[in-house]
């Protein structure tokens, strides 16, 4: 092959490779702290659901994490023979923990069992303002041994927003 032509091809290949390197380099995006920290639902969910509370049931008290209390309360409310007021007290305790963590989050506990139990949804916390960008995370709490109404888990959903 002609030496001059070979040089042109070599240089062209080299420039192509350097161009590729430039593209690769400019696609490096530093991992910035995008969004405000409270807008990360996983951290808010851990802070609230891992917190503990003590709730009265009749003459006794129940102590547990907010996650287990909520799951318990939702199953109790959806089952026949619900202890009066228990779910409301759990909801109030949850609302206090949630308010202590952040004002920009809400929590929903839902259960969709088979009959004879009935569907339950408990909502805690404020509603996100219109137009806010909302993130959410959902945790499942299994209830297989706690109920005679199928194996439907309780879903705990935490929503967070930045404004």
């Amino acid at each position: 092959m002609n030496r001059g032509l070979s040089t042109v091809i070599d240089v062209a290949v080299c420039v192509l490779l350097v161009g590729g390197a430039v593209l690769a380099l400019s696609s490096v995006v530093p991992d910035g702290g995008h969004g405000t920290p409270d807008a990360r639902p996983a951290a808010a969910a851990r802070a609230v659901l891992d917190s503990t509370a003590t709730v009265a049931v009749g003459n006794e008290t129940v102590h547990g994490t907010v996650a287990t209390l909520l799951a318990d309360a939702v199953v109790a409310r959806g089952s026949p023979g619900d202890a009066p007021g228990y779910a409301d007290r759990v909801r109030n305790a949850t609302a206090r923990r949630l308010a202590n963590a952040t004002r920009r989050a809400s929590l929903t506990a839902t259960w969709r069992p088979e009959s004879p139990c009935h569907q339950v949804a408990l909502a805690v916390g404020p509603r996100p303002p219109a137009g806010a960008s909302v993130d959410a995370v959902t945790l499942s709490v299994p209830t297989a041994n706690a109920t005679a109404c199928g194996r439907a888990p309780v879903h705990l959903t935490v929503r967070t927003w930045s404004r």
């Binding site: 420039v15 430039v22 380099l25 920290p37 951290a43 802070a47 202590n100």
Partner: protein, 128 residues
Amino acid sequence: MSRSSADGQVEPIAALAAILALTAAFGVYGLVHARVPLGGSDPHPAATACARVGDALDPAPVDPHTLASATRGVAPDRSLNVTLRTATGRWTVGPPRPARADVASRLVPVRVGDRRVRPGRLVVAVWT
């Protein structure tokens, strides 16, 4: 410069063009390289430090007494203030933070007593 043998010389114009093209290519590469923050210049040092302290404090819930050990070595070349707040308590490690400090925070569950856990906020301030 003329071709005098079978294995001849590269045309001077082609050689000059090749050198110019390579110089331009490496120049562009250098400019792009200088503009990309690769380590060294972390744009959010507090967020990085907050993530490191949070990882060191795992597994949750956070025990406030482990705050000092979790903070060690997180930002060796900078000043650091780490504060853990709940509705009723406050634990802090490091000197008071100046107004210019870069600040980041995250929500964490905090163990405030035997079998008692409350939501809290981990606030990390970094400055030089």
